[in-house]
Symmetry: C2
């Protein structure tokens, strides 16, 4: 694993005033594992979310979207998350099962079901064992506490090897504001979004209508810039919660100075979470930053980045530390820019100039390429030489271990 | 390897009147290997070709296209093919080197350079050792013979494990017509086209203006329907040659009865070659036929087929014989059909009805899925339930061996 992820130290993960988390063992897939997590949000919390663009949306994603998009803008007061089963490809009964769980949690918390957002992650197209989850809900409610974010990051994991949690503090008009986020995801990772669940909370005061644009903006600058295997999951969900507890004037525009300060701090945590997913990607041994510049449009840069990031030939070359860099040029060539002029392409590995004008650089030495390819963190810069658009993506290599993990996932 | 490919039996591979093939050892990458192959075409032969859509076109591809697209429609009389080096990402000097080889071969054969089509396959972005190739040309010319198609299939291989050659005979207006084709390719395989070189020859009499549409039509029904890893190579080339030696009236339309008969026979050999590439795909253990029906358009069917065929999660599930079939539904969902209604999707593995209305079929049993997944040849049928378009693709699984082959390719 590139630059080994450390499990979050609970001391560095600050609780967010206004939020409690309860964790329990429902035995969805196996016993003795935390697999049920609930968030309890104080009244006055505003929530925004973005969800998978896969047309095969899991049942809980459909419910979240209908709640958050409802004109009534319901007062969301709880989240309920299970691992071990995605409740996707489960049709009408999947929707019913998710609704039953929300209804039961609503009874326990004295909330209406549409104040509760459900989330599931795990295997697709198997019936959700909702009775097990319902049975464990009272334990989760009973366990609710403020300072269990690091454990929560662990409880939402599936094939992840390390829990992912980050915190940040920022000063807004003299008031200290906390930001804490957790995420899970290690495979089926692709923009829009990862097979990932992400939860970012702050006690900042934010006008409710700013929450959805905030979720979109944060996803675009973080989770939508990572890709592991090109698979867009049925269950991707990213939720931002603002409890409005901090002692500063309400932010009513992201263009304002405090708005910009807060946005920057939130983005930092989102990017840390997104990069942690790539670092923990199934079987990954290299962390690769793709910088694509000189595009006519951002869309062009993205096409090129994804062609490189999804090429099994490029990914296996990184795994082998083999500077077989023509494979990168080939991927640039088939990225889908119809009028690309190969004689304008420049390619760099870190600061080594590999190709110029679409051809091997006269001073490029295989030894230099080899030295960079052996690193655990590598940046690839492609200059398309046709404009001024610039974009950055993060990805990883393709190893034997990826095949093993995904060939054995259910066994 | 699914349904193990047998090396072609030379007895079953018929020479094509009007064509001789010369094979030699140039030592491009290593000694003691046939790596240089020339085709000598009798006067009167007509040639058509299709080439990679990768914007990073190898030098020989650029030369072939400029010759075949030239308004002068030159009288192509020879082909020269090297393995061991792709002469791609090599800029102006790559073009010069390819032209030098054609010029030298032209001297030996008394042809002008633009009567010779060059082809290269192998590693990208390394200078072509053209002197070695030029030095071996006289040996190749000296070796020219009519009945060495099976050996030629072997001499154009790179990471292929089995030579690929097929023959067919067809009767046109009482005359016997021969069709023989060879191809190479095992990785970097993706529509438009495979990393593949394909050469199909017949002694049929075909009007010259019919050759380019023929090459396109044959590629579309064969090589453009296979995918191994989604990588479109810089060097893909497919050439069709008609020597006009057979004793039947010239075919002047593909709509005519003899035109249809010949087209069908040519298509059979093209499809055999394309399927042989998938069967020999790097590390493949399963041969998978994807039948996508119920699309509004063929383009929709293709999107869905490629999303499934390129999903590393689907491919590793096939490798593991794991009926984790929700991964197929997820791939259908992100294939890019914006208004796809998941509740209309039907999914079959061979004749086992796995999912109905987008959800697990009530009678589907894991054991049935498991039984099919264990087979070496599997068909996946997806009914999108939104139209009447139907299309078929062929692909394979993703194994440890794929990673090994591509991580070690240059060592």
């Amino acid at each position: 694993m590139p630059v080994r992820l450390q499990p979050p130290n609970p001391v560095d993960i600050f609780p967010v005033p206004g939020i409690q988390i309860g964790i329990a063992q429902a035995g969805v897939k196996r016993a003795d594992k935390d697999d049920l997590t609930i968030f309890l949000l104080d009244s006055g919390t505003h929530v925004g979310g973005v969800f998978t663009k896969n047309r095969f949306k899991a049942a809980p994603v459909q419910i979240c979207e209908s709640i958050l998009n409802s004109p009534a803008r319901p007062d969301v007061r709880a989240l309920v998350i299970n691992t071990g089963n995605a409740n996707a490809g489960t049709g009408e009964s999947g929707l019913e099962n998710a609704r039953l769980i929300c209804a039961e949690l609503g009874k326990l918390l004295n909330l209406s079901p549409d104040q509760i957002l459900p989330f599931s992650t795990g295997v697709i197209m198997e019936p959700l064992p909702f009775e097990k989850i319902i049975k464990a809900l009272p334990n989760a409610v009973k366990a609710a506490a403020k300072d269990v974010w690091a454990r929560a990051a662990h409880s939402i994991m599936t094939t992840d090897t390390v829990a992912k949690a980050f915190s940040n503090k920022v000063n807004l008009n003299g008031a200290s504001v906390t930001i804490t986020g957790i995420a899970k995801g290690a495979g089926m990772i692709h923009p829009n979004m990862a097979t990932m669940l992400g939860y970012l909370a702050t006690d900042a005061c934010i006008a409710p209508e700013l929450m959805k644009p905030l979720a979109l903006e944060l996803a675009n600058s973080s989770f939508n810039r990572i890709t592991v295997d090109g698979d867009t999951s049925t269950n991707d969900s990213f939720v931002v919660m603002a409890t409005n507890k901090a002692a500063h004037p309400v932010i009513t525009s992201w263009e304002s100075e405090p708005g910009q300060t807060l946005l920057k701090a939130l983005r930092l945590v989102s990017v840390q979470l997104a990069q942690a997913i790539v670092r923990d990607a199934e079987g990954a041994t290299k962390f690769i930053t793709l910088k694509i510049k000189g595009g006519k449009t951002l869309e062009e840069c993205k096409k090129v980045a994804l062609a490189i990031a999804h090429s099994p030939l490029v990914k296996t070359a990184f795994f082998a530390s083999d500077p077989n860099l023509g494979r990168i040029l080939a991927a640039v060539g088939y990225a889908g820019i119809e009028d690309l002029d190969q004689s304008q392409i420049e390619l760099y590995l870190d600061d080594v100039h590999v190709a110029t004008r679409g051809s091997r650089h006269p001073h490029y030495k295989e030894d230099d390429g080899q030295r960079i390819m052996k690193q655990e963190e590598i940046s690839v810069t492609v200059d398309l030489g046709r404009g001024s658009a610039f974009d950055t993506f993060w990805t990883c290599d393709l190893s034997h271990e990826y095949v093993s993990i995904n060939a054995d996932y259910r066994s």
